[in-house]
Symmetry: C2
Subunit: 452 residues, 2 copies
């Protein structure tokens, strides 16, 4: 008799607080700077785009932030999310390791993104905002915000990178089903978009352009705010519910993780899982190795520099100290669209600099191979992003097979791949390329960093 495949929490066991790592760190992360004055930004600098509750969460030094009842009510639609023991994957690998995965694909958008979209929509609605704007690449974040907006009566307007908008029509329909409005970017609805279109009528767009359009509209209307789906402290804060639940779930089966692996793009999924365990590590109650897995085509942690840089391509945001490949770096078009970001969350970058975690990079074919193995054994087709974590997870499990170690491995399966099946089709047909950034390309990319 094997132990259960699923470790579940009741709704009454759902955590009532998000966890803020900052006060537990040996030193605080460097401040965010105003690009004009190079002085730390204040609440007033951010007020045109964000409600004060989120600005306060961005800089809070409280260890715990209570989750509002109105947010818990929506979380209950899919939270607590299940933690799975991957019995059938372990058996297929022949490993003595115990593999656990926390599955966020049960959410309305199919990923972890609603964990922050819901509170962001709530705080904006509570502040009297009527509309949210945002950008989306592959579409997970746009879907999450469209759903979240519908829960609090907010209109949600999304600029999606034109290339993705054309290639992934299912995401657009999902967003519209949840009641969101979606535009391809560049659009003729904004100055930023019109300027690009005038010069490049067939522009495929970029995340940077889409951000510019969404921010422009939010800045121009008093009833409209902007929402961001990763990178910022308050986003990672909201995602810590993943790790808090996983802690409770592992405790139920008496397991303590030896290795925690998660994929990193902007960092919110990884931080969400890892930070509560990092609290325990800092407190000395456990000592897991915490490992970020990034794409070799966009290796901000493993090959980028730790420096002040802009969050967007156009250079409109404040300057953040982070591991970056340069804000105008355009990653190769790998299928894990959610990992194609030039920088890393400043908080995760700081944790990395403190030596509290490690990072590895993977090329995509190894990741899709892991995704197929996972699908055939565990029955869930992973999104391309978490296949990076699964590849590292399988690598660790196979190491355990050699050494005989019965390590407990915990990973974040942050989303399903139902809308990413064409990428699997290409992999299965042998029609997929690997991309890895050369040292020369890294040097070129970071040459344009702002001098701070």
């Amino acid at each position: 008799m094997t132990s259960d495949s699923k470790i579940l929490l009741s709704e009454s066991e759902m955590p009532r607080n998000w966890y803020n790592l900052v006060p537990d760190l040996p030193s605080p992360p460097p401040p965010v700077l105003h690009p004009g004055t190079l002085q730390p930004v204040g609440p007033d600098d951010l007020a045109p785009l964000f409600p004060m509750a989120l600005i306060e969460q961005e800089v809070t030094t409280e260890r715990y932030v209570p989750i509002p009842e109105e947010v818990l009510d929506v979380y209950r639609l899919w939270r607590p999310s299940p933690l799975y023991r991957a019995h059938r994957l372990e058996k297929a690998l022949g490993t003595p390791a115990k593999i656990y995965y926390k599955y966020e694909g049960v959410s309305p958008a199919g990923s972890h993104k609603p964990n922050t979209a819901v509170p962001q929509a709530f705080y904006n609605a509570a502040a009297g905002i009527r509309r949210l704007t945002t950008e989306t690449g592959a579409g997970q974040w746009g879907t999450a915000l469209a759903f979240a907006g519908a829960q609090y009566g907010l209109d949600v307007e999304i600029w999606q990178v034109r290339a993705s908008y054309d290639q992934k029509p299912y995401r657009k329909i999902m967003i519209e089903t949840f009641g969101g409005t979606i535009h391809p970017s560049p659009s003729n609805l904004t100055d930023a978009g019109r300027k690009i279109l005038a010069e490049h009528p067939d522009s495929p767009g970029s995340l940077g352009i889409a951000i510019s359009e969404a921010v422009e509209v939010a800045a121009q209307h008093a009833d409209t705010n902007y929402a961001l789906g990763s990178v910022l402290n308050h986003v990672l804060l909201h995602q810590t519910i993943i790790g808090e639940e996983a802690l409770l779930q592992l405790a139920k089966v008496g397991a303590t993780p030896d290795v925690i692996v998660g994929c990193t793009g902007g960092g919110s999924n990884f931080g969400g899982l890892a930070f509560p365990f990092l609290r325990e590590k800092l407190a000395g109650t456990m000592n897991p190795t915490i490992r970020a897995v990034e794409p070799a085509s966009c290796p901000s942690l493993t090959k980028g520099v730790y420096a002040y840089d802009f969050g967007d391509t156009a250079g409109m945001t404040p300057l953040m100290k982070m591991h970056t490949l340069g804000h105008d770096f355009i990653p190769d078009p790998i299928h894990a669209g959610g990992l194609r970001y030039h920088g890393m969350s400043p908080l995760i970058s700081h944790v990395y600099e403190l030596g509290l975690m490690e990072a590895v990079a993977k090329t995509q074919k190894e990741c899709f191979e892991a995704g197929v193995t996972f699908a055939r054994t565990e029955g869930i087709i992973p999104a391309p992003e978490p296949t990076h974590a699964l590849a590292a997870c399988i690598e660790e499990a196979l190491r355990c097979k050699e050494t005989g170690e019965e390590k407990v491995i915990l990973t974040a399966l942050c989303g399903h791949g139902h809308l990413d099946l064409p990428a699997y089709g290409r992999f299965l047909a042998g029609d997929m390329e690997d991309h890895a950034l050369s040292e020369e390309a890294v040097a070129t990319a970071i040459a344009g960093l702002p001098r701070v």
Copy 2:
């Protein structure tokens, strides 16, 4: 404080038996007949296509059939499935009714189909079979069997109706990701397929042709069997785990259903949910109204005749007494592909004749409207098939709003609609037609029934 949104069972609470309704009925269903002799078929007639364990389950008079441990092991990947209380939908409708939905979209295929695909694959593997063939329309059944085959080392070969194969590439990729082989039908791999292609090189195919191809290959190879995803008694038997779990879950919250609604195509999802409750109704422990919802374009229960007919278009199967629109009836191309079947499960047809359940028909725009309402409130985009049940569920809840009755409504949300988003796109764009079968069309369709 509202009650929980999710009512969960632990794996140790998972039912250990499937339930067979037949011995509890006041009379047994009429026998299945050999089309040549018009005598009841015996095990030998079915042995070229099915393993003896399934043939025995097809005719068993035992009330309970134990679920093998090897099947429970795979079920545990997603079972017990959650039962949800639709708090946010109730609130949006302003109804005093309590709506519960049993969600089968958490399975590997995204629907209830793996509940029978897994035991079918298991019994075939146990009988020494190496390969399974089947047909699939929209693709849910093919996906389920591909996944199930992978669990027991069986090759799975699937003939998909050409039109669906071309229109729904995501399903093909999902099947291949799980390790299945898929061919568009008609194919040049079988006599049946070659014959059609010779006459109609551009044939879009049909479920009937695909069945003929799959059956032909299975009949010709000793190591190959055929598998069917609905209609037959053993398929409905396996699906009763849905209703058995739902009974336990409702008991946990002290709720007794007043109305049970489910969509019907071949009938396995509906029977799976309803039969355990029908057992209770026959025993007098509860008295729910049990309501089938079928598409107005394919109304076998509400407009068909109760007569002996073939299960497939080509007339190769035994004759089954069922509600049918005639085996050569081709339903209009509604988006709920899983409900486009000319007949109804003989067991459900018999239950309907006994007056133990009722049936209604819905056109698809009302159903998609219900699907969008559900998605925006509950966060799950339903497959087109269960939107039929949801439309009837919402209708009942709004009736309760008028009368003030606090009825308990239970429905089966048998799958998610992630791979059906183009249909939502058409609905949201106002580009969807309603189809309802006229009396004249019914009369024409049933004119060709075999004379038995």
